[in-house]
Symmetry: C2
Subunit: 169 residues, 2 copies
DNA sequence: TATTGTTATACTCTATAACTATA
DNA sequence: TATAGTTATAGAGTATAACAATA
């Protein structure tokens, strides 16, 4: 007996129960997106968390490790290894904080800016040509605005991205 | 020197860069929702994955472990422990497959149905009173429909929920 | 006394491979 | 030869606690 004999793909009765609930749809899509974006970034040898960090440094260069960790919603312990990786690849570097000798500030290097440009193109391509290809421009704007309000109400203001961390799926 | 001296909360320049991109918003919200729903379910001593499984069995009782694993997008190895837990708590039970002696079918027990009812109320309360409280009824429908189309285009049809598995955040 | 960066440790999730009993 | 369930193992990822240097 094979699997097809047992599962005629017809037990789909009320299963759509959850499928029309935004809370469920959002959780499902969020996980899917993280996995897909991770795959798209793989050729650059970076993970979404590196993308997040490079993007943050582009807009706010010279933050301390703690500040970066807070913005990205990750622990400062993890930050250590993250900065280590970027530094080892010449994408960013640590400098002593000008007035607080306990702290390091993190700065983007030219190689980091260039890598971010490539990652940005990958992100845009994924979003426009793959994820949202089925929506019109107006619909994309409507979606973005609704999501913005939901995210704001949830306290997810600013550019923080706890979703892009961790392992996909 | 204190943290506030260094971070006047003003380095928010172009950081909204990603914040208006649906791909990013969805990933961010998905992660947030998983964490919140996990917290809401904690009093019932179950995780979102148990909720998913109970919900699936309600609509399609008697699936084999493999079939459940496929629907929920988890590995069959993990399925073993999951069924073990539900069985130990009297929420579901294994029965020998009527014709394939290698397989077990999984069936919901009364205690499982009751627990699912409670979990359903928690889910609805979270979605309506917390997550989507800021949207009107019409806006919620618009959001659900846009998400449905994006999910369908991504191949996330049916009631599968890879997003509710794993650890939150 | 609190904070920054760091390291060590344990705990959870997940991914792979192998085993058994069946088909 | 392939499949269902199971188990063991190793690998990520994360969370906690502690430490030295500095505030």
């Amino acid at each position: 007996m094979t699997k097809a004999d047992r599962s005629p793909a017809d037990h789909d009765g009320g299963r759509a129960r959850l499928a029309s609930h935004p809370a469920f749809q959002l959780a499902q899509l969020g996980s899917h997106i993280k996995g897909r974006f991770t795959a798209h970034l793989a050729p650059l040898n970076i993970a979404p968390r590196h993308f997040d960090m490079l993007a943050l440094l582009t807009d706010a260069d010279g933050l301390t490790q703690q500040q970066i960790a807070e913005e990205l919603n990750i622990h400062r312990n993890v930050m250590v290894g993250l900065v280590d990786e970027l530094e080892a690849r010449g994408l960013a570097e640590r400098r002593r904080h000008p007035t607080d000798r306990r702290a390091y500030t993190v700065h983007l290097l030219p190689a980091g800016r260039e890598l971010l440009r490539k990652a940005d193109r990958i992100f845009d391509g994924f979003e426009n040509d793959e994820l949202l290809a089925t929506l019109t421009t107006a619909e994309r704007q409507t979606l973005a605005e609704l999501l913005r309000r939901v995210a704001a109400a949830a306290g997810l203001h600013r550019g923080v991205h706890p979703a892009f961390h961790g392992s996909p799926e």
